[in-house]
Amino acid sequence: MNQPERRRNPRRMLGYGVRGLEAMVIFVIVSWFVAPPPILVMLGPPQKVETTSPKLGVHTRLTDEVEEWKIQKTLEMVREMGAPWIVEYFPWGYIENSQGEYDWQHADLVVDHARAQGLTVIARLGFVPAWARPKDSVTSYLDDAHVPLFANFVQAFVNHFRGRVSYIIIWNEPNVSFEWGYRPVDPAGYTRLLQAAYVAAKQADPSVQVLAGALAPTLAAPGSTDTMSDLEYLQKMYDAGAKNYFDILAVHAYGWTAPADDPPSPGVVNFRRTELLHDIMIANGDGAKHVMITEGGWNDHPRWTKAVSPAQRIEYTLRALDLAKEWDWLDACVFWVFRFPAPTLTYQDYYTFVTPGFDPKPIYYEVQKYATQQVTSGK
């Protein structure tokens, strides 16, 4: 048979096809047996946080942590440090990447592992998806027209996590322009957003606790549009009618270079600035409400002008926990940040308690000693 005829023979062509199919099937079967099995991660039996510091917490950063065992390991180490609280970020744009389609898989992983470790989750909500903002805008840009869409997401979140997440923070540091879509900061605009989110959250679960504010401690000059002092901003929130639309005030309490005991003053950023914010609540007839520090602490970068030495960081952090115990209006004192999934290669790495490779820093051991020593010694 000549070559062209051989190529055209349908029976032979069919034979080649069948043999090719057989080879593929064999390849798939062999690959199935040769490939390593996926790592099995189980929630495990429910754990309890043993601590003498029931207000101690850390902001975890599991949003970008892909591997489940690392999520579990992080939360185990939080529990072992003696911290019962975590704040975690649940970006709207990750969960509702397409309008109306929710992907809860990763959020469920984080919440379920946290609960298995006996931790209470405070969920920070923000990050506008691309479909809800103009092209080339940043993820903190949310105009009034799209606020109802954010409120819908808040409602969906509360509904989904009813019984598992009881605290939500609405937005982050709206008193700085870059967290407000690079628009002039606008306390009344934030209050409108808060009101919409609060109503939506309470419709889904009346018992959920809505945290507002989470303002950046700032010393902006009066009239600046890039940033506004957190004290001024909070007062303007009250002026705009925020009082009945949050249950707890979220505060960011960074110490910068000052010791924890440094006295509060409007012209100074320090840990006790938290007291000034609480005073504003009292002045607005809102003193019965409690406060949660949802970010804060000290940084030990060797050159950042707002950092302290690692030894000072330890000393100030432990003293801050003493103060937190004394403040009966404070429910939680959460430090930024427990661990990043990968090095940020910036000063932010010097806020962490544990390296990306799970090596505890000295501050981890010192806080652990502070929060668990009386438990372990049976006192």
């Binding site: 940043v138 690079y182 060797p302 950042w304 707002k306 030894a311 290669l345 910036t346 820093k361 000295p362």
Partner: protein, 289 residues
């Protein structure tokens, strides 16, 4: 194979007219391949017109203003004296950029600094608040889909430091079974703890890098792991120590521009490269560190 043997091999099909058409087909394929090769060579070697400069570079050269995003909180790279006066390596580097560009374009280019918190630098660059980030910025491989990075102008990774007279320690591995000093809780401390079991050194922690280097100087420890800038500070003040080997971890300091500004990046790189060649970069580092 000769053409006669080819014909012989095809002899049983002598009645088939296709052998001659096959030869014509082969020739056609060869001619087409040659034509394609010729076209490819022409396209490859033909002088190309210079790419059109990007709009940002055009604006900088026309308006004479380069807008730099900076967080002046990281001396000795950049610091603000509280009255709006900036100083540091990055400030001096920016002056070199505009100096060279002014000479090159014949138009005076000035720097305008836009203060931005470090965490907001990338977003602010993206939204066009300024043209370039120059703010002790570490190279971050995860950001390369968003920005273009310049060539590195400093490596700020932690170093091994030994006494000047030490001729045996060439790297951190040579510190095995010796006394090693670190600043408590520093990245050098973390690195040292990680390798302590393997290298079996006696790890001693100090409150500051200066204390650790002082201990090295006075013979209490045999090596110190700390960052290069702390070493430079100590060398200026006291001396008697030196670095051994390369940084333990590379922390490359770079500038960043938007992806749609390749001409600006090219011009930045040209000045950085020139400064490395003619010694200006070394000179600036000596001046500021």
């Amino acid at each position: 194979m000769s053409s006669s043997s080819f014909i012989l091999a095809e002899a049983p099909r002598s009645s088939d007219p296709r052998p001659s058409s096959l030869r014509i087909g082969t020739l056609s394929v060869v001619l087409v391949a040659l034509a394609l090769a010729g076209y490819y060579a022409y396209v490859s070697w033909k002088p190309k017109p210079a790419p059109k400069p990007d709009a940002t570079w055009v604006r900088i050269t026309q308006e004479g203003v380069l807008r730099i995003g900076i967080d002046p909180s990281f001396p000795p790279f950049e610091a603000d004296d509280g009255k709006g006066n900036l100083s540091g390596l990055d400030i001096a580097l920016a002056q070199e950029w505009v100096h060279d560009w002014s000479a090159q374009t014949g138009k005076t280019i000035k720097v305008q600094y836009v203060y931005t918190g470090f965490d907001g630098l990338y977003d602010a660059l993206k939204t066009g608040q300024f043209d370039v980030i120059l703010s002790a910025l570490p190279y971050d491989p995860r950001r390369t889909q968003d920005v273009l990075y310049s060539h590195s102008y400093y490596n700020s990774g932690p170093m091994v430091v030994v006494r000047s007279a030490d001729m045996t320690t060439k790297s951190w591995y040579d510190l095995a079974n010796k006394r090693v000093g670190v600043e408590l809780g520093s990245s050098g401390d973390s690195f040292a703890r990680k390798w302590q079991n393997r290298l079996n050194y006696d790890l001693r922690e100090f409150n500051t890098p200066k204390d650790a280097l002082q201990a090295l100087s006075s013979g209490q420890v045999d090596g110190v792991l700390t960052d290069g800038i702390a070493v430079e500070d100590f060398l200026h003040a006291q001396g008697g120590v030196k670095t051994a080997g390369n940084p333990l971890v590379d922390e490359l300091i770079v500038a960043a521009v938007r992806k749609d500004t390749p001409t600006l990046l090219q011009e930045i790189n040209a000045v950085i490269d020139a400064m490395k060649s003619d010694g200006r970069l070394d000179q600036l580092q000596k001046e500021w560190f």
